[in-house]
Amino acid sequence: MATLKEVKSKIVSIKKTRQITSAMKMVATSRLRGAQNRMEAFKPYAGKFAEVLGSIAGKSGENASPLLVPRDEVKKVALILCTSDRGLCGGFNSNLITKADKFVQSELEGKEVSYICFGKRGRDWAKKQPQPIEDQYIGVVGGKIAFGIASSSGQKMIDSFLEGAVDEVYLIYSRFVNMARQEATLKKILPIPSLDELTGGKEEVQADGFLPEHICEPSSDKLLGEMLPKNVFIQIYDALLQTSTSEHAARMRAMENATKACEDMVGELQSIFNKTRQSKITGDLMDIVGGAEALKG
């Protein structure tokens, strides 16, 4: 049986670990609130944009923009992988990486793949892969994300798509479903899936039942051509926001579980400590009583 001193020092060290995990949990909670607020603040913009895009897409031809045209033969694929910079957030990053790995192994077999990594964890994984890393952005996910980052990286993707350097672009990110659930999600962002999909397949019907027939300036095709790249930026930005929120939620949960585990362990050790102490005292008493009996003798 462990000595009293050993048990005592173990209890102290676990209590310290618990302090750290519970502090990390509180940090994650407050960051989560910030990330969620940013996600909420983005919703009106994204919602309105989708609405306008939907109403204009209905009027334009399918071939309004080269971004809509799928390539006959897909040889080169770019994969944007959003992960966090830091660990200690449960299965968060490994879920995302497994998703990417599976996708590359099965769907992209025999194609040229390049990675664009947001977040250190994903980059470290991509480094070990035979495919090259095109671009990496560290210190973005989890913090305050500027729209400029999404639009500049999105513009790069669009440029290389138009030049023919890549034929398809995919995005892997963690969708924030709720506090307890974050889903690794795969999305194709270029070529832009058909316009029906963008609008969710439904025409935007106004409350009084007519489609707003906009006068467009410049022409609706031209406007659509300007809006589609923006739509790509919005998707990347949305992915970054959701991944950040998910990261904090995942870390909060992971740290909560760790704190609980620490408490359980401390409880167990405490009862071992008490038992050991008790049996030691009993032993000592026996000795004293025995000694006293012997003296009486």
Binding site: P44, F147, H214, C216, E217, L223
Partner: protein, 135 residues
Amino acid sequence: MAEKLFLEVVTPQKSVVSEEVEIVVAPGSEGEFGALKGHTTFLTSLKLGTLRYKDSAGKERYVFINGGFAEVLPTKVTILAESAERRKDIDVERAVKAKERAEKRLASRSPETDLVRAEAALRRALHRIKIKDIR
């Protein structure tokens, strides 16, 4: 008393303006346009410039718009901009600094400067300063 229409200016970060106004004048890519209540539905892209509107108290307000889109409906105007700032929120010091930086970059004419970006930065800075100097 003019009838009111609702103006909303939203950016990815936040909603900048959301209030009842009398008139909106916005910098459309094919020319500045004004909208009053009852305007026909209208959709346009915007260029960098100043959005002006008269709020319900009849006071003129100015908002810096860095490109985007505007949707005009009979009772509502929605502006989608990548960035937008009300006149009172414009950071002049920052704009002056950005202006100097951009001018320096343009003057240096070294091959590695991104002329397009520097010019865009200069235009943004000048416009911000201009809005601040109104009146």
